[in-house]
Amino acid sequence: MTPAVHRVVERREETRDVTTLMLEPVEGPRLAFRPGQFNMLTAFGVGEVAISVSGAPREEGPLRHTVRDVGAVSHALCQRQVGDLVGVRGPFGSDWRVSPDCAPGPILDVHDVVVIAGGIGLAPLRGAVHELVARSHETGGRVFVLVGARDPSQVVYHDDLEAWDREGAVVLVTVDRGTPEWRGRVGLVTALLADAGFDPSSTAALICGPEIMMRFSARALVDSGVDASRILVSLERNMQCGLGWCGHCQLGPFLLCRDGPVVPYSGVVSTLLNERER
């Protein structure tokens, strides 16, 4: 399966090592996707990596990906300038179940939705939050966006966080390490749960971030009374094909490119997150 050639039409440096690329296909229409899915992005001549789509289906305009510079390919992608070419294959994988065209799930039946993001974990959640905030205006439900970052410079999507706040979502941000200018909260993202004020008996949650953060956040939600089957997490393993052929993205019973990345925090997932080196 060959990539569709896209051109970078805009780039934003979100943080020191995180860049958002806005891509338009050289030929044909924009790829359709559902929030939570990922594409395989090719930096031609360097290689290909799995990057979540961070756009929202209801947003007009180019295809949006936010990339953290952590290796050879992601570095090359972050270096791409306006006008440069990027290959796109996809979209692949499961979604956040936030809209009728998504897979059936618990989100559409509850009053409150808690979205918990660690660092760049907000990127795959961005489209879902857009959908949830828009939907909350129709249903009267509430959306809570809880963001944790290592330090203030690592918080991404300031414009979106402010917009969601204006549109009625409860947006709380905390950092592991403050700076002299930081006037916000310092602490783990799980500490935000107590202040959020959601109704656990009618709450669903979407979580994406480092595994340890997802484990503790999911546990805290379950302890507060949220039904584990209403918690979705986005899991990550090495992905090299996106097609279920290469075997790298195995995690227990899952091939995450096919069965994930978004999966319910049910029995098997909570066990996997608690076992070492899975």
Binding site: M1, T2, P3, V5, V26, T42, F44, G45, V46, G47, E48, R68, V70, G71, S74, L85, G87, E236, R237, N238, Q240, C241, L243, G244, W245, C246, G247, H248, Q250, G252, P253, F254, L255, R258, D259, E275, R276, E277, R278
Partner: protein, 391 residues
């Protein structure tokens, strides 16, 4: 002269029929398959092992050769007799014919200010395998589920696999490392072939019982000198297969095995096997069902890009690399991943076991780690832990 009426033998054979073939007929069959346009391959003796190779005739088969296998040991020796199939599987599996160890996926050249792609799907002569073992057909069935039968089939695999002609030969002489009878993958076979041969040698002579499994199998046999199948051959086959099963001393208890491994991910036995395991990846490279691959791009001075796929192994540190480092850094976690996937989570992913009991991973492990022993050890430990928990 009329060309519309085939000779009587060509209309008389059907799928499901049984015939007798003398050894010369095997040579004839190879010739007929070549005439039918197939690239004919089969077991050959090369570099001290029985491995897949090209067949020009029956003389290329391992006639008169035997193998000896045990954990960490393999050897062939010359027995100087007429038997062509009196050995068990060697290090090479038919996987490599359908899923080569290195393959180009696509090539892209700069074209103006964009790229022009060429998806690489070779057009090859269809393959005929003469002398695959039942466990190897079972392994291809497993690979089919991964690379062909999913939502997104691999076009390169499909191009090689579809149209391949398979002559399977049942096993009369399992190796000490074989345990296909535990996995339901041998030593006999009842379907999934074009032709199934059973090599017989007794007072009635050296001959083959041939069962026809497809219409094209019937067409091929019709063009070879053959005789009607005899009950004496059918009876000899049953006796031979029974002896093969009895001779297969290694076993794997599969009842409850998938659940056993899933609930023992933190079992201390994984640390024990890691003390012996070299993480050399031999087991995954000889395995006929291991399908993991790496994808990597290369470029040239013109800016052209080639995407390559090569076999990889879950024993490689890089296999689980995620930004920052490998997820499975320890040998114990990698052996656990391999064995749990093979015998347990493969069911979740592909609705089959990933193991066919060919025993290659036991023979070709340089330190002789035995997957059946490791499964037994986990089972013993699980029972001991259960006793501990109940107190």
């Amino acid at each position: 002269m009329s060309t519309t009426t085939p000779p009587p033998s060509e209309v008389s054979l059907r799928r499901g029929d049984v015939v007798r073939l003398w050894p010369e007929g095997l040579d004839g069959l190879i010739g007929v398959l070549r005439d039918m346009g197939y690239d004919v391959k089969g077991p050959t003796v090369r570099d001290g092992a029985i491995v897949p190779g090209r067949l020009d005739g029956a003389h290329d088969l391992p006639v008169g050769w035997r193998d000896e296998q045990s954990p960490g040991r393999y050897a062939v020796h010359w027995a100087n007799d007429e038997l062509a199939f009196s050995w068990a599987v060697g290090p090479g599996s038919w996987k490599a014919e359908f899923f080569p160890a290195a393959q180009v996926q696509w090539h892209a050249e700069r074209h103006g200010d964009t790229y022009r792609f060429n998806e690489s799907v070779e057009s090859l002569r269809p393959l005929a395998i003469v002398g695959a073992r039942p466990c190897e057909l079972a392994a291809l069935d497993v690979l089919d589920r991964v690379l062909r039968d999913g939502a997104l089939p691999d076009p390169r695999y499909v191009a090689r696999r579809d149209g391949a002609f398979v002559v399977v030969v049942e096993c009369a002489r399992p190796a000490s490392t074989c345990f296909c009878s535990s996995m339901g993958a041998g030593p006999g076979i009842e379907g999934g072939f074009d032709l199934a041969l059973t090599e017989l040698s007794d007072a009635d002579g050296h001959r083959y019982l041939v069962r026809i499994g497809s219409e094209r199998g019937a067409l091929a046999i019709a063009r070879v000198d053959h005789e009607q199948g005899l009950d004496v051959d059918r009876a000899a086959r049953v006796i031979q297969l029974d002896a093969s099963v009895v001779g297969m001393t290694r076993q794997l208890e599969t009842d409850g095995l998938a659940e056993l491994l899933v609930r023992n991910q933190e079992n201390p036995r994984w640390l024990d096997v890691a003390e012996r395991c070299l993480s050399c990846a031999n087991c995954t490279l000889v395995c006929p069902t291991c399908f993991c691959s790496d994808v990597h791009d290369t470029t040239d001075v013109t800016g052209a890009v080639t995407r390559n796929r090569t076999w990889s192994s879950c024993f490689d540190l890089d296999h689980s690399f995620l930004h920052g480092g490998p997820v499975r850094a320890s040998s114990s976690s990698r052996y656990r991943q391999w064995m749990t996937h093979k015998l347990s989570t493969w069911w979740d992913q592909f609705d089959t076991s990933g193991c066919v009991g060919c025993g290659r991973c036991i023979t070709w492990c340089p330190v002789g780690i035995d997957i059946t022993d490791e499964a037994k050890a986990i089972g013993r430990s699980d029972r001991a832990l259960a006793v501990g928990r109940s107190r």
